[in-house]
């Protein structure tokens, strides 16, 4: 953005403003844009979810307000704004008031490091990934505040569940990302996306691969396993079915937001949907290349960039549009998977959730980190680093060797852990497929 602002103010108008003013204006524009985009995502996603799930349930869904029900979220917003804001007399007034803000604010911060297209990242932090997940954990504090301050038993139970769930599922999420970070050698989200150019194989692993923007991590065994683990953990982080335990409506009414009404309740909803969007976005960025796709890399190479100041601005626009298109397609695709799961599955119990996280996902992701280390060793190291035997292999052979070894390791670990986990569930598994034949007897 600063390149563009600089281009407009200093080159086109020739005003010669100092660089700090350019930076300030650039950040202000981006921040204003993001504060518009974040609630818009929420509005869009609620409508999207309601329409999609209605299709699964043989219904039509909201279609009265505006064409195809497009203004339904706005109508809901108006409704929620005009509702009375009720604060229970027994509640801690201040904490009850602050809690929704504490939940919403981190989700807005997380947008700061989210790249939308080539060169379209608000802040290219070299610790972007760490920032993203560190900030996302803050909302757990807000949930606890909401639950505790409401002075309601349902809210308290819900908050306890929410915190327990978020804390335990952040571990597999971060462990699965650690494997990816090990491969890229960087915590910068932009660097992570740049790594995923290529065709099935990343150009950073094998330089001779054509750059079609398809060298996604999902195509490697390490990335695939990390993706599965991360997406499951993301469902738990975003409190989506089957892990919507903190707000299990059939058990504890609405969990930590039981005592909230009006726009405070709306803020919790906003936070939740924006978080879901962000989790889908980060999934698509880390494992599916974000804005990477056929054509974006080539277009961006012709555009005005610090590397190539002589480019044409048309290519900036084209690369941006195509990149954002790829990015949002992937992101909404993942959101559709979330909706799909919600339409199909029931909810797990809190102890089953914990069992699954600690006994299955965490060991699996730990093995995956080991695989990632092998991947890095085989594809990047040479005699100087201690792997003398790979010296002289061509990059493609080294990549194939790394692929084979990590695939075998991950598959083996998965099968082994799945067996152990199934055995630990044996006490409940008592019936199998031919049970109905036994059951049906003539009285």
């Amino acid at each position: 953005m600063q390149d563009v602002v600089n281009q407009v103010i200093n080159t086109s108008f020739g005003w010669g403003w100092p660089s700090w003013a350019i930076a300030l204006i650039g950040y202000l524009i981006v921040a204003a844009l993001l504060f518009g985009i974040a609630p818009f995502q929420m509005l869009f996603l609620t409508l999207y979810e309601r329409r999609a799930i209605a299709r699964m349930q043989d219904r039509i869904g909201p279609n009265r307000v505006g064409p195809e029900g497009m203004f339904q979220p706005l109508a809901d917003g108006v409704k929620i704004f005009t509702k009375e804001d009720i604060v229970p007399t027994a509640a801690d007034q201040w904490v009850h008031f602050i809690a929704p803000c504490v939940v919403v604010a981190p989700t807005m911060f997380m947008f700061a490091v989210l790249p939308w297209g080539p060169g379209m990242v608000p802040v290219d932090m070299n610790l972007g990934l760490l920032f993203f997940f560190a900030i996302s954990s803050v909302s757990a504090v807000g949930l606890m505040m909401a639950g505790w301050a409401s002075s309601n038993k349902f809210a308290l139970v819900g908050a306890m569940r929410a915190v327990a769930q978020m804390v335990s599922y952040e571990i597999p999420a971060v462990l699965s990302l650690l494997a990816i970070v090990l491969v890229t050698g960087s915590l910068s989200i932009v660097e992570l996306i740049n790594y995923q150019g290529g065709l099935f194989i990343s150009t950073r692993d094998v330089a001779s691969v054509p750059d079609w923007g398809l060298g996604w991590f999902i195509f490697s065994p390490v990335g695939f396993l990390a993706f599965i683990a991360f997406f499951i953990a993301a469902l738990a982080e975003g409190e989506r079915t089957p892990f919507d335990i903190p707000e299990a409506d059939s058990e504890i009414v609405a969990g930590y937001m039981t005592e909230y009404s009006g726009m405070k309740f709306g803020l919790f909803y906003l936070a939740q949907y924006v978080l879901n969007f962000l989790l889908c976005a980060i999934t698509s960025i880390i494992f599916f290349g974000g804005w990477q796709g056929p054509g974006v890399g080539w277009l961006y190479a012709q555009a005005i960039t610090p590397v190539n100041p002589q480019g044409g601005w048309v290519f900036n626009v084209l690369a941006g549009v195509l990149g954002v298109f790829y990015f949002l397609t992937k992101t909404y695709g993942f959101f559709f998977v979330m909706v799909w799961i919600r339409g199909a599955y029931a909810r797990l119990r809190i102890d089953q959730l914990m069992d699954f996280g600690w006994k299955f996902l965490i060991p699996l992701t730990l093995v995956n980190i080991f695989s990632a280390a092998i991947w890095v060793g085989l594809t990047k190291w040479g005699a100087a680093d201690g792997l003398a035997f790979v010296e002289g292999w061509s990059p493609l052979v080294r990549w194939a060797a790394a692929f084979g070894v990590t695939l075998a390791l991950n598959l083996g670990a998965y099968l082994f852990l799945a067996r152990i986990f199934a055995q630990s569930q044996d006490e409940r598994a008592r019936q199998d497929d031919d049970v109905l034949e036994q059951l049906t007897n003539v009285a």
């Binding site: 349902f154 029931a346 009285a443």
Partner: protein, 369 residues
């Protein structure tokens, strides 16, 4: 060591998953239920007392309101009771129509009950919507014969109010053609889903002896492994001529109750097919023309019971020779099946408690009369 405290929570009377106004006074230790006391009575509306100031026929629509899911089955039990008291003959054709309606009710009830049960497990309405879609088709049929979808008020002393309409049989046959696919789909949803299995297997076990001690009936009892079905144990109407199986569970957990309900839907479909085959040969009309509706039964008392989808529904009537019952007592299956809830939930998690309640399949209109 941290000191922990038990927490008392009121689940209900206003709660999303208590299936009406019902309160459970739950003591929880963390997430584990240590004690549960069901509290009824919020929907008490003096049903039995009102029935004693009405004439016998005026009570027929009131029985619809007991278990509003199964209006036909309630009608059947009450009609049987009065017919026994007065001594009214029911023509063969009317009996076939009655059985047809009651078995359709059974399918409708189980489709809804399974849907609501999965909703209690935390699914978001999809399975419920599938169940309700099937229920709608059956309600359409009810509407065509009785004029009402829910509160049918279709049975009369000595038969049923109207004969089947001309288009009833073709529509019923269409329904039966589509039904196996629905039942299979429901079964796949319930039995091939790891999460649902985890949530239902080994949960809410009601042992056989405890079930008998609480005099539980219906799918809950059969899920606990007791092959007791009034249609078999004490055949009424024309059930002795029909061929059907009584499915029984083995452990008595939520999963067994699910399986029993799925299989009962299949058996009901089997019964309906036999009824369709035998109906054209049945003697008589849809109602005994000699039967008076403003009955004045002789002095005496009677107990008549049927197997509704939820269990044994019995009507105990005492007549003092006037046109109004002297005493009118309902033995409601939902109410009696609900009493062992505390024993079933103890030791399980809060989330299981809701599922166990759902697996009993109650309607509060019948629990609090």
């Amino acid at each position: 060591m941290l000191k922990t405290e038990e927490l008392q929570i009121n689940i209900g009377p206003q709660h999303p998953s208590t299936h009406g106004v019902f309160r459970m006074l739950v003591t929880v230790d963390g997430e584990t239920v240590t004690d549960l006391k069901p509290v009824f009575g919020y929907l008490h509306r003096n049903h039995e007392q009102i029935a004693e100031v009405n004439t016998y026929l005026q009570n027929m629509p009131y029985t619809d309101r007991l278990d509003y899911f199964n209006a036909m089955a309630n009608n059947h039990a009450y009609a049987m009771a009065v017919e026994k008291l007065v001594g009214i003959e029911v023509p063969e054709r009317a009996e076939y129509i009655r059985v047809l309606m009651v078995e359709l009710t059974r399918i409708l009830n189980h489709a809804g009950a399974l849907g609501f049960l999965i909703n209690d497990m935390g699914a978001w309405q999809t399975q419920l919507a599938f169940g309700m879609r099937e229920r709608e088709k059956i309600l359409d049929l009810f509407e065509s014969v009785s004029g009402a979808r829910l509160m049918c008020n279709y049975f009369r002393f000595g038969g049923v109010a109207r004969d089947l309409t001309a288009d009833f049989m073709p529509r019923l046959k269409d329904l039966l053609v589509a039904m196996p696919a629905f039942i299979d789909e429901m079964e796949r949803l319930l039995r091939e889903n790891e999460i649902l299995l985890q949530r239902s297997e080994g949960i809410g076990i009601l042992p056989k002896d405890l079930a008998l001690a609480y005099s539980v009936t219906g799918p809950v009892l059969r899920g606990s492994g007791v092959a007791y079905d009034i249609r078999r144990a004490e055949p009424y109407s024309i059930y002795d001529r029909l061929d059907f199986d009584v499915p029984v569970g083995s452990v008595g957990d939520v999963y067994d109750r699910i399986l029993v309900r799925i299989e009962e839907m299949r058996q009901s479909k089997r019964i309906i097919e036999q009824v369709i085959a035998q109906l054209p040969d049945a003697q008589g009309g849809h109602i005994n023309p000699k039967a008076r509706q403003n009955v004045r039964p002789p002095v005496g008392d009677v107990y008549a019971r049927v197997e509704t989808p939820k269990g044994e529904l019995g009507f105990y009537l005492v007549s003092d020779g006037s046109s109004r019952p002297y005493r009118y007592k309902v033995r409601a299956p939902s109410f009696i099946n609900l009493t062992p809830l505390g024993d079933m939930c103890r030791g399980y998690k809060v989330a299981d408690m809701v599922v166990i309640l759902g697996s009993i399949d109650i309607v509060m209109g019948e629990v609090d009369r």
